[in-house]
């Protein structure tokens, strides 16, 4: 091979690839509006994106899989834990993750900043990105998310928002640190469940489950929901 041949390999190789990228970039701009529902990017969604950037959330969490791997991906967080879950985690991370070995900082966001952030997450959860992340695909099959779905009871919402789902599996979904709770209603009564949630160590001194300090109302709703799982 002569140096001249080598030169043409360089020029043609580079130009060919560049042409592919530029042509597909033009097409990307034509299609991205529909794929991401860009008509739904309101001023609140934009403000939420600025909040996301202002607090450098992206260096701990990924979004569309890019960013830090210290916390879970946020692409479908709105569908996973809903508005209340997002608010609880951002507003009171010291409570939300009190029993987790990994902590989230309390960055003292203003209430309207949390609203904007939630709007941003809500919009992002609808991005059509070939169903990534795969583990969150189950939330996408229902057209709406946790907090807005008519079929979701508030007990089920609490189960997700308060983090029970991180340790317990219910209907095939959740963690494996605590026992599976599918069908728990046929084994335990509502009163027993309520007593257990109130203070696990009192019922079972060896219990690993933490006291989540839920309000009496929340305990009532949650035990009602769990005892109905038959």
């Amino acid at each position: 091979m002569t140096k001249k041949t080598a030169y043409w390999i360089f020029i043609l190789g580079t130009l060919a690839s560049l042409l592919v990228l530029l042509a597909l970039t033009i097409d990307f701009h034509r299609e991205v509006g529909a794929l991401t529902h860009s008509d739904q990017i309101s001023s609140q969604v934009l403000a939420g994106k600025r909040v996301w950037q202002k607090y450098n959330c992206n260096d701990c969490h990924t979004m569309l899989g890019f960013g830090g791997y210290y916390g879970p991906d946020m692409t479908r967080v709105y569908l996973r834990i809903g508005e209340a879950g997002i608010r609880f985690a951002v507003e009171k991370p010291e409570q939300a993750f009190s029993n987790s070995f990994r902590k989230m900082p309390n960055l003292h966001l203003k209430p309207e900043e949390i609203d904007n952030l939630t709007a941003f997450f809500k919009w992002a959860s609808g991005i059509n990105n070939n169903y990534w992340p795969p583990q969150d695909r189950k939330y996408q099959t229902s057209s709406t998310g946790v907090s807005t779905s008519a079929s979701t009871s508030s007990g089920e919402e609490l189960f997700k928002v308060k983090g029970c789902i991180n340790c317990h599996t219910l209907k095939g979904e959740g963690g494996n640190i605590g026992p599976v709770l599918t069908g728990i209603g046929s084994k335990l009564t509502k009163d027993f469940i309520a007593q257990y949630i109130t203070d696990p160590a009192k019922v079972n001194p060896k219990a690993q489950m933490p006291n989540l300090h839920l309000s009496p109302d929340e305990i009532n709703t949650l035990s009602e929901f769990l005892s109905s799982q038959k």
Binding site: S17, H29, L35, D59, G68, R102, I127, N129, P133
Partner: protein
């Protein structure tokens, strides 16, 4: 040292080395964050996010300062004239270091643009642009005045122009998250698999030319072929980042096809390095420089080629994307392709800047092997953590923290290996800062 202005490279090398040390220290802190539980009060004031921003920006800064120092060192010998303005070169270093220090302090205080790797906020990022423009002007003027154009000079200059130009895509505030990431990769991917490859391929070609004495025609021919293939596979290969970004589906095919070919030029580079070493015309003066040059080519293939290839195809990437598998690849690839390259240049240039022809290399050699072994181990430990995460979180669909719990052990391994790596870095630093000549026995 043949030209007196080559000495402007020295403070670049020193600054780069200290930033490298600092980067590793912050890396260790990140590993502690993963492997151990930290109190809420500490997390509130100094989060993982802040430390990660510092770790990654230090990486970019020391790499770029290393490339710049290397460029200033080779420029006079290539163009056969002194650097256009040594004063501008010092001003540029001062400016970029000041921007860097301000940015890192700003991160701690919460002043950030909040986009990973490109956290430096406006107006500070215009300081980076000005620094880059001074550099391009100085390098360009030296080449123009030298009127002694070579392929190495042209590819180096072209690479530097593209490098600076691509940075501009990282500056705007994008309204649409998908568009945001689309152009974020024009900076990150087209840097490391485009512009940086051009710059470093030119620099390493020059070093090989100098230490082997092989025919320039041969070196430059290989440079064309390798860069042609790097850019052919790399430019459209940006598509392997567009699978899950909200871009059209055909990117799965385009990204998969082009990026599957990405290891080819790296294999070629390795073969070419071995060839040059085999057909050398010069006597080996400092074997450590050779060890580094060959080590760089091998590790480049291992980290960028192999670790990259294993998760670049869409059906695998669907599960590994955004997991610690990427961290495994990132660490080994950057270390192999760029950290070892900079150190090769430092070991070649720094003794010559001090007028030392043969240097004592036992400490430097120990540092090399410790770093290489520790980084190999870290790549594997990150990889195991990544596979666990992929399987538990993505395949089985269990909770994020369930997977993280299983991965903790491997982060403790990463931390331990990181300590060993640190000891290698310190040895390398001492070896480079206290280069001593070997007194050759007569006869």
């Amino acid at each position: 040292m043949e030209y007196k202005t080559q000495k402007v490279a020295y403070p670049y090398f020193i600054t780069a080395l200290f930033l490298f040390l600092l980067q590793v220290l912050f890396g260790l802190w990140l590993a502690i964050n993963y492997g151990f539980s930290l109190p809420q009060a500490l997390v509130d004031v100094f989060s993982f996010a802040t430390a990660r921003a510092i770790h990654t920006n230090l990486l970019v800064l020391w790499m770029l300062l290393g490339f710049m120092g290397g460029t200033y060192f080779l420029l006079p010998e290539e163009t056969k004239r002194e650097i256009y303005s040594p004063a501008l070169a010092y001003l540029q270093l001062g400016l970029l270091t000041a921007v860097g220090v301000t940015a890192l302090t700003g991160f701690v205080l919460g002043w950030t643009k909040g986009r990973p790797l490109l956290e430096i906020p406006p107006p500070l990022n215009f300081g980076v642009v000005i620094g880059a423009l001074i550099f391009l002007f100085n390098v360009g003027m030296t080449m123009i005045k030298g009127k002694n154009w070579t392929v190495i000079q042209v590819t180096l200059l072209a690479g530097l122009v593209v490098l600076a130009g691509l940075y501009l895509f990282g500056i705007p505030f994008y309204h649409n998250l998908s568009v945001d990431w689309y152009y974020w990769w024009w900076v990150i991917h087209l840097w490391v698999e485009g512009a940086w490859e051009m710059v470093t391929a030119a620099i390493i070609a020059w070093v090989l030319l100098k230490i082997t004495g092989v025919n320039r025609e041969v070196v430059e021919k290989w440079l064309y072929v390798e860069l042609g293939l790097f850019l052919f596979t790399g430019i459209a290969g940006v598509g392997h980042h567009y699978y899950w970004v909200g871009a059209p589906k055909y990117w799965l095919w385009v990204g998969g096809a082009f990026s599957a070919l990405e290891p080819v030029p790296i294999v070629l580079m390795l073969i070419d390095t071995f060839k040059h070493v085999k057909h050398r015309q010069l006597v080996i003066k400092n074997p450590l420089v050779w060890t580094y040059a060959v080590g760089c080519a091998i590790f480049h293939l291992f980290g960028a080629g192999f670790f990259g290839f294993v998760h670049t195809l869409p059906m695998i990437n669907k599960y590994t994307h955004g997991s610690q598998v990427t961290a495994a690849h990132g660490h080994v690839a950057f270390f192999g392709a760029y950290a070892l390259l900079n150190l090769t240049v430092f070991y070649y240039a720094m003794p010559r800047l001090k007028g030392i022809e043969f240097f004592k290399e036992s400490l430097g050699r120990a540092g090399f092997w410790i770093m290489v072994m520790a980084m190999t181990g870290m790549g594997l430990a990150f990889g195991v953590a990544g596979v666990l995460q992929t399987y538990i979180e993505r395949v089985l669909g269990m909770g994020y923290m369930t997977a993280q719990g299983e991965m903790r052990f491997w982060f403790k391994i990463v931390f331990s290996l990181g300590l060993i790596f640190l000891s290698g870095v310190i040895m390398t630093l001492i070896a480079l800062l206290t280069i001593k000549p070997v007194i050759k026995k007569e006869g």
